[in-house]
């Protein structure tokens, strides 16, 4: 089973599906949707099969494939995944069908005809229906590029996927988004492109100085002078810091997240941005270990500022989607702290955080999208007392919010705890200040919940036709797998931790880091009982 070329097939499959869907006539929207959903489910099955075939204790990189591509540059189509990439692949494969189902009526337009989820009272007026086949094929193309970027093991291939990924997302935001979508799409594109150019310079530098190859394995062993290593590190780091995004490169995210359709926003924040933190783990740390250590204080500071800053700004937002986007900036701060603390716990926690954040924030975005689709607006002030009108939806919203604030029992708690406990062992100040961010998280989530679902019912809200319908069956199927994963991994994170942990340890050993030993290790219980036995 291990010989099956999982990675190349899984990367190519959604693109093929996307091509087929794109060729469907516009008059058959349901066929396009059903075909896309079915195809993404097939990809999910394939990914799960690969996940089970992965041996957690085995080689660091598995499912290795390599094909001839551009021999003169020694660039090859090399695919391989470690545990970190593997869990991200699974996250993508899970999120895409969910997002597709959640976006089922996004292209139908409001007020055109009465339908299952169309609301004649949408105050923004009639929105014309848009091409479903284009939308869903874009989602499939996006899935393809996302799968590719996480499975690439060749730096040039990674760079190509890194940039191509922008294209479908640009169209998803720019053509299907809400207000100011074009501004947001252009901003998103330019930010990412500028970051990508920094990386391109570093990639070329790496090729020139690292022995004229793009092969990751060979480049890891290359030696650079201190100055060169730092410049190359910065090239990659800036690209990833913009992508993630870290403070102060974050301002594109609230615009993009706020303007994108909810499903695309979930993918954008849930997966696309993780390429940044993933890139730091896969490229910055192993390729430039000394520079990583040199710049760690800077990175930790940026991440820490992001934690507090994102949380405070989230409290001050009046748009639900922008609010969620700002919470993500705080969460990316936690991930950054976990990575640059260089301990097993914090690193594993950071990777787990990437998964959990995809689940929790993805859920939050989708639920916000459901609320906004009913109300025709995502402004907090347009809600109020929604709990009385749509109790089940409000309950799911609360659950998503609680997961976002990392309540124990939900999976984000495990990751946040690991990040902070690992960080504390090496840098107490950072961990303690970040814990303040945990308190602030409760603030923005509860304040959001209170202003939207609690209190007396907003009279304008009660008149909206859509608010008379609680969670539909389709929406229930959308949220159920995410909730199950959030709660399941919150109690039993072991299956994921076992995959992540060896990969993180290998990455950290590339940087030459070791965990600090406890200062006063407690005698083990066995030793004590032996002692008392004597």
């Amino acid at each position: 089973m291990n010989d099956f070329p999982f990675l190349s097939v899984l990367t190519a499959a959604p693109a093929v599906g996307g091509l087929v869907v794109a060729l469907l006539p516009n008059s058959r929207p349901t066929l396009a949707k059903a075909l896309s959903l079915g195809w993404s489910l097939v990809v999910l099955v394939g990914t799960i099969t690969m996940y089970t075939a992965f041996k957690p204790g085995g080689d660091r990189f598995q499912f290795h494939e390599s094909y001839r591509w551009i021999p003169s540059w020694d660039a090859r189509l090399t695919f391989a995944v470690d545990g970190i990439a593997l869990v991200m692949l699974l996250l993508i494969a899970v999120l895409v069908p969910v997002v597709m189902l959640a976006s089922w009526h996004d292209t139908d337009g409001y007020g055109a005809k009465a339908g299952e989820d169309r609301h004649s009272a949408a105050p923004v007026g009639v929105v014309p229906a848009r091409s479903a086949s284009a939308y869903f094929s874009l989602l499939l193309f996006l899935e393809s590029t996302m799968l590719g970027v996480f499975s690439a093991q060749d730096i040039f291939l990674f760079y190509v996927f890194f940039e191509i990924m922008l294209v479908p997302m640009y169209f998803l935001i720019g053509s299907y988004g809400g207000q100011r979508r074009q501004y947001a799409a252009v901003k998103f594109f330019l930010y990412s492109l500028v970051g990508g150019l920094f990386m391109l310079v570093a990639v070329i530098g790496l090729w020139v100085l690292g022995g004229h190859t793009f092969d990751w394995q060979k480049l890891v062993e290359a030696d650079f002078t201190t100055g060169t290593e730092r410049w190359l590190f910065l090239g990659f780091f800036i690209a990833f810091a913009i992508k993630a995004p870290f403070f102060p490169f974050h301002t594109w995210l609230p615009d993009a997240g706020g303007a994108a359709p909810a499903g695309s926003a979930a993918l954008l924040v849930g997966v696309l941005d993780k390429v940044g933190t993933f890139g730091i783990l896969r490229y910055c740390l192993p390729l430039f270990p000394n520079a990583s250590r040199y710049f760690a204080p800077l990175a930790l500071t940026l991440a820490l500022v992001g934690v507090i800053y994102g949380a405070l700004l989230a409290i001050g937002q009046n748009d639900l989607k922008r609010l969620v986007a700002y919470t993500s900036i705080a969460h990316f701060g936690f991930i950054g702290i976990g990575i640059f603390a260089f301990t097993t716990q914090s690193g594993t926690g950071a990777v787990l955080y990437m998964v959990n954040h995809g689940l929790a924030t993805g859920l939050l975005f989708l639920v916000v999208g459901m609320l906004a689709a009913r109300r025709g607006s995502a402004a907090v002030s347009d809600f109020g007392g929604a709990g009385k009108l749509v109790p089940v939806l409000a309950g799911v919203f609360l659950l998503a919010g609680l997961a976002s604030l990392a309540l124990p029992g939900t999976s984000p708690f495990v990751s946040e705890f690991l990040v902070l406990v690992g960080t504390f062992t090496v840098n107490k100040t950072v961990a303690v200040v970040a814990t303040v961010g945990v308190v602030l998280a409760a603030g923005y989530v509860l304040w959001m919940i209170q202003r939207t679902t609690h209190g007396t019912v907003n009279p304008a809200l009660a008149e909206v036709e859509g608010m008379k319908r609680d969670l539909s069956l389709r929406e229930g199927i959308v949220v159920a797998p995410l909730i199950a994963l959030i709660l399941g991994l919150g109690v039993y994170p072991k299956p994921v931790l076992d995959v992540i942990d060896p990969a993180v340890r290998a990455t950290l050993s590339d940087t030459g880091s070791t965990d600090p030993a406890p200062t006063h290790p407690a005698p083990t219980a066995d030793a004590v009982s032996k002692e008392s036995g004597k």
């Binding site: 594993t348 029992g409 495990v414 961990a431 942990d501 340890r505 006063h520 005698p523």
Partner: protein, 632 residues
Amino acid sequence: MGSNVHFAAATGWLSTFWLLIAIPLASAAALLLLGRRADRWGHWLGVTSVAASFGLAVSYFFALRGVDERSAELRLFDFIDVGGLKVDIGLLLDPLSVVFVLLVTGVGALIHAYAVGYMAHDPGRRRFFAYFNLFVAAMLLLVLGNNYVMLYVGWEGVGLASYLLIAFWYAKPAAATAGKKAFLMNRVGDAGFVIAIFLMFATLGSVNFDDVSNGVGALATGTATVLGLLLLLGACGKSGQFPLQTWLPDAMEGPTPVSALIHAATMVTAGVYLIARSHPIFDAAPDAQTAVICVGAATLLIGAIIGCAKDDIKRILAYSTVSQIGYMFLAVGLGGVAYALGLIHLLAHGFFKAGLFLGAGSVMHSMNDQTDIRRFGGLWKPMKITWVTTGLGYLALIGIPPLSGFFTKEPIIGAAFDHAGWLGAVVGGAALLGAGLTAFYMTRLFVLTFHGPRRWTPDVGQPHESPPVMTVPLIALALGSLAAGALMMTSVVDWLTPVFGEHAESSEHWLITGATMAVTLTGVGLALVLFRKGTETEEQPAGILVTAARRNLYADAVNETIFEMPGKYLTRALVFLDNRGIDGLVNGLAAAVGGGSGRLRRLQTGYVRSYAMSILAGAVLVVVAMLAVTLG
């Protein structure tokens, strides 16, 4: 420090004690998932699950008596195993946790039954029982966890349940705000708790109770003190102690059974449990113990003083709870034998305060949800059972022998005076004064509610006694507060010996007993003189102290000025900075590029000949440059 803690693995019947948590949790999940289908019978499922847990708890209690080490540890599965950090989903049944389990499930089952009647007309009754069961499960996890992370998970779980239940009537803005406030203030405390866990791992390499207990002796005193203070911060948040006490009275916006179970009998005492459970840390850190004593003494006075000035029956009881937990903190801060004293007071308090709250609920039930004691009066006649049971709770609380409060509170006051140095005299005096104030405000509450002239609002018809499903728990709790004291004095201290170690027999305090009784009777007498004939139904102008007490000693105002307002302005300033500053910089760059291009395109005049001119100029430039290179 020679402590040598080892827990025996659970065997036989005891190895099934995870069921204690699983049953209420399963019930909560079923009630939430089944939705309206469970509306008709859901509440009975809720009651049954907690009662089943109580039955199991009793059986485990007896099973535990048969185990020599008086402990049973159950490691279910790995929760986290990363690097050196190993956290099990592990449970521990020992004398300390069994006491709590019995209290939580026993009182919990009674209050669940009561709530069937109390919530009978509420359309959200099923949801209420789901949350209530969730609370019981989380609380049991809190007291049964075998490591600090499990304790923390339960700790946050009860916080969540508390939030959900305070904000149960979420359409009421006050309830929604109170729920949020409770959660936030708890989170402040939790931050301290969780940092304490980090510190344990960083220094001791483990978060299990046994490892921490065994290893804490090796720590520097400074580290142990920091650890103790961080845990104290967590405990203060959960138990409504100074300076995080203001959420607890606001929490009375929740339904009365919630106030009785969560905000009187069980959850708010979790802080006491935390300190008692961490006693090896506090034993190693005398400064932290002093801090606990000071917090306890300060809070018991704050609670009692504010309690005297309030007119809302539930808020008086809430401040009374704050004050009584202050006594418990005082006791566990004193250390040694006083650990057990604090826990006994906790148990007794669980009974009589739950009874008092349920009595208050019964009164409100028949008075159209009126909570203002100035609009009660003369209720003893139509509500005989409520009157008697509340009366027993009241006498138990103020410490009239032979009710339980007498046996539990008076030794704490004695132990406080026993504490060395001037601190002992100060906190002892505070505790004594607190006893007098307690007697005063409780007498005021009781007399104004059940006696004196009727001051009912016109919409109240004929008050009636509550249905049996509500009065039976009242009677049971009243019997508990009657009998518990004596029973506990004899056996609970011995029962807890494996946890806290042997202790010297405490000396007799005839003098202090006498003084306590005198102060208490003075408080009762004063209140009788003042309120025997009822009171005005409107708020009267009052002196500085009373006004301050009515405003909760300005604690809310302080929070608002120091945290809320600056926070609000900071947030606004940052939003502005982000939009105009950081984003402004980026957009400014874009605008500059755009503007520059706008200027440059003016060169594109449309005249062919000017283009030709520039081409020529360019060619000349190139030629000149080439000549310069060749010749120069």
